[in-house]
């Protein structure tokens, strides 16, 4: 800030730090943005663990601990609940002209995007830690050991980046908080029509199995789940991480272009 005051352009790293601080502060000030993405998935986890314990008796079910199975959905729900408010904030900043005002400051579009994403990823780390602690307390075991915990964190970051990038892209294109909010049911459809509630091999209904197999969310859930149940399943991890990285890349490029055009409208 002092550099700006002196008429100098701050370095991209300083810009990024300032903007990440602003985003994190905004998240911390809004208790619902912090608590809901942690609390709501944990409530659903508690209900699923208590309601679905009979599922472990099914022949071919991969584990005897239902929490190991149900935790995959929790990570995805958390990412979804966190990304939508963050993208709504971006849409509101566009609606209210905050971003246009930033365009007059010496800050690049890439830094703006990275700062927003940085705040989402930071919150994702906290959320990941909370989910892991609760799961372990509920009797879950990470079959891959400490290395698996590190892989879990990487997966969480990739997942957060993927979902947030898509939500940011919609915010930039629509410039409307309402439209961003309507993403929730759309994501929710993908979440529910996946293998989140039952392994694909055990799904009875043919049409549902086909949908679940075609749904990329199935592979994201299975990547998380594999770390708890299967040990190092390279195929599941590569599929999950690859899908998340591909979505992040495609949506991230769209975001960069959208942000440049959003800021150019003022310039």
């Amino acid at each position: 800030m002092s550099a700006v005051g002196a008429g100098l352009s701050p370095s991209p790293v300083a810009q990024l730090a300032t903007l990440v601080r602003q985003s994190v502060r905004r998240t911390l000030n809004d208790a619902s943005a912090l608590v809901v993405p942690i609390a709501f998935p944990l409530v659903i986890l508690a209900i699923n663990v208590a309601a679905l314990h009979g599922v472990t008796r099914l022949p071919g079910f991969p584990t005897r601990r239902v929490v190991d199975f149900a935790i995959g959905l929790t990570f995805l729900q958390g990412a979804l609940f966190a990304a939508i408010p963050a993208a709504t904030d971006l849409a509101v900043d566009l609606e209210t002209g905050f971003l246009e005002r930033l365009a007059m400051a010496p800050v690049t579009a890439g830094v703006l995007l990275a700062a927003r994403l940085g705040a989402v990823l930071g919150a994702g780390l906290v959320r990941c830690g909370c989910f892991l602690l609760v799961a372990l307390a509920a009797g879950a075991r990470v079959a891959t050991g400490p290395g698996g915990v590190a892989a879990l964190v990487v997966l969480e970051l990739l997942l957060d980046a993927a979902i947030a990038s898509v939500a940011f892209l919609v915010a930039l294109r629509s410039r409307s908080g309402e439209v961003v909010q309507s993403l929730f049911p759309a994501f929710f459809v993908f979440l529910m029509l996946s293998s989140a509630l039952m392994p694909r091999e055990l799904i009875d209904m043919h049409w549902f199995r086909l949908v679940a197999e075609a749904n990329p969310v199935s592979y994201l859930v299975e990547a998380f789940r594999s770390l708890f149940i299967d040990g190092w399943d390279v195929r599941a991890l590569a599929l999950g991480a690859g899908i998340a990285a591909a979505i992040s890349l495609a949506a991230g490029l769209g975001c960069a272009r959208g942000l440049r055009s959003a800021m150019a409208r003022t310039g």
């Binding site: 409530v43 508690a46 209900i47 208590a50 599922v55 309507s182 799904i203 209904m205 549902f208």
Partner: protein, 267 residues
Amino acid sequence: MSAPLQDLRARAARAALVAFALGRRGTKAWITSPPFVVITLLFPLIFLAAFAGALSPLAHDRGFDYPGDYTTFIYGFVVLQAAAFGGVFTGYSAARDFELGFAPRIFLAVPDRSAVLAGYLLVATIRSLIAAGVVTLAALAGGMAPRCDAGQALLVAVLVVLVAVMATCWTTGIAMRLRTTRAGPLMHTPVLIAMFLTPVYVPLALLDGWLRAAASWNPLTQLVEASRALLVGTNTHLHESLAIAGLLVVLFGAWALRGIATTARGV
């Protein structure tokens, strides 16, 4: 006819007119807004597809003693959940009426406040019955084979209306007190949690630990079980569920009317 009686009849006729006009306005606003229609219908349909599609192997678990098929079992829950969503979305509409300045004008124009609540209840009833109809068609297309007669199907519709009325009274009470759509989480979260603290995926006897205790105490469990029983041609839990629903309607109705009265005094 005595003058007071004539006056009472005239007031009742005016109140009915107001309720009908509000009901027509709300229903028209809903039907002519495709995103609202889609969202009202989407969630129950997705829950039906996801639960019936993914979790049907649970019906093979020992102790799963429901005499119908698993799609019917899930439908018995989802149809009531659709009604609850109809009530929640009507609460959003009531809050929006405040934000748009419509509600204060209505309170100035209508002396009988209960007519305002009746108008919202009419909207919720129509929404819920339409949603229930769509869910029913989807369930039948998905292989549901109910074994109920027309009278029992009508009783399921009565339960749908009672749940819609309960949810609407709850959410309208919130809307009247907080007068903003930002109160949405306060409207939908308790309703969602109360619905999920019933035996959603398996019968009550198969639930585990705390969820079994919570579901046993949850009055909505009786309604869900009555709905499921009616669908296989039995009237188990029917009288208890109607009594419980009646009591809850009275309690939540008082909550909503008190909210309306407080608000109307301030207009």
